[in-house]
Amino acid sequence: MDGSQLLQLVASGLVTGSIYALVALGFTVIFKSTDAINFAQGEWVMAGGMIGAFLHASFGLAPLLLLPVCAAAVALIGLVSERLAIHPLKAPTPMLLTLITIAVAITTRAAITLVLGKAPAGLPSFSGSENVAVFGATLPPQALWVFGITLLVMIGTHYFFQRSLLGRAMRAAAADREAAGLVGINVSRMAMWSFVIAAAIGAVAGLIITPLTLTSVNAGLMLGFKGFSAAMLGGLGNLHGALLGGLVLGLLESLSAGLLSSQFKDAVAFVVLLVVLFLRPAGLLGRASTERA
């Protein structure tokens, strides 16, 4: 194994890791506002890719134009899911919410299968087809799009939660529901927005990875649970943790596949992940307060 091969592994690990980071970000947004693990997150990622591929194949929509369209479409799926399946709950508990998101995931996947079919779907790269050399590693151009868009989404989300009125209201509702209610924040509306935002982020992740890996209705499951793992690794409920967790998980997988064994890459990645979790229970970036003993 020479230096350039190692670099290649790192680069491809960072590409997968970026996607994991975006999926983890979606988990984090919903976890913060509801304390539930959202099993539908992976399905939204799949939906983004599938809808994008369909729109491109049928109407020839340019991949970059697909970004806002797919994000909006899947955000609508998130909105409808929250209003129909989560909002009517009289006594929501994290356990019940988590179980409902399993049902929402099954429903979403079945609906997408019915409308768009089971065949794998692909998209062309957002630009060019010539591989580019970056620091000695050779990357498809789409990889650069993945890095760029992931970075933009991360920065955008950060500013949204730090600066915008809605973002700050959502943070307030996540921190203390009652106090937020007292200062006039509609807490249940904030939960709705978290579903909308998480779904839109998921759609973006699904759309930008499709040119590299293709997608199919069954792709969501794997991406969903990798994203959840990344979110836990970084510290569930922490936006920067989602980014770091995603990148670390992507690197772990890529390096263990390249250096140890491709058959056991998932096992190796998850063993490391468990060890990290047990040593740093709040995740890589989580503070002790997230343990809430």
Binding site: P88, A91, I100, F225, L277, E291
Partner: protein, 324 residues
Amino acid sequence: MAEPDPSRGARRSYAALGVVWALLLLFPLAAPNNFVLNLGISWFISLALAGSLNLLMGYAGQISLSHAAFYGLGAYASGVLSAKFGVSPWLGLCAAIALTAAAAFLIGWPSLKLRGHYLAMATLGFNVIMSVLFVELRGLTGGPNGLVGVPSLSLFGWEIGADIRFYLFAWVVVGLMMLLILNLLHSRMGRALRALSTSELAAKANGIDVHAVKLGVFVLSAVMAGIAGFLYVHLNNFASPENFDFVASVMLLVVVALGGTGTYWGPFLGALLHVVLPEALRAFSDFEILVYGISLVLVLLFFPGGLSGAVARLGRLVGRGGGR
């Protein structure tokens, strides 16, 4: 939940379990053929899985995403030992129990010290690792094609094949498990569980070792899943990795929720669904899966207590109507 006289409630539960279990003895007489009889056996295995997961999820309030992995560990432990090494399945059972207990202890010890979804994460990771091992340790497990040639059980020279004899064997084994769960719920440990699911702080203040109780329940529930795996593998003479993956674990969560989390009788109903659903889902068209997903949402929305909650509510309604 709040029994006016706990000992009376306990006696009633034991009596009900006795009646249900006695009635189950009649099922083979009513079963028209071996296929239906085998559904009965599958129900026993599903009940062992749902009942043990419910103990953890419903009473201790912990989400586990690796129940299927423990189920698989039990199945493969006994299956591999007997099929590849000629070890007696009864020794295989001991190995299955020891392995699942050890694995659950190793995963549970660190993750149960933390609240929230850490058990979910750790068990998810464990399930993924086990799935990879089931598939990739081809020499031992037969890989993705599954483990074949697992011998049937035999007791005192009697072979316990997939017929009435296996039904009776499962009747005894799972009956003992359900009795154990009932005993546990009415014991000091059961009261501790109920206390800690209401408030961990208050439970601690009353001298309950919260971590030890949770860990005990987690290990016990994993061992029960392992024993269910032992039953499964010697019933079918076969084990296949996809029965024990992460999706299977999520499915078990759904089954417990549909039956009614935290109620003793919920898993009895949930197990019925567990026997019917996977068969049905495999044959389901996409449209039917959509309907299934939507009905799942509706059940959870309107009957958060699951089917057993719905039945209880119906019973109260009927009772009130009759009283007038």
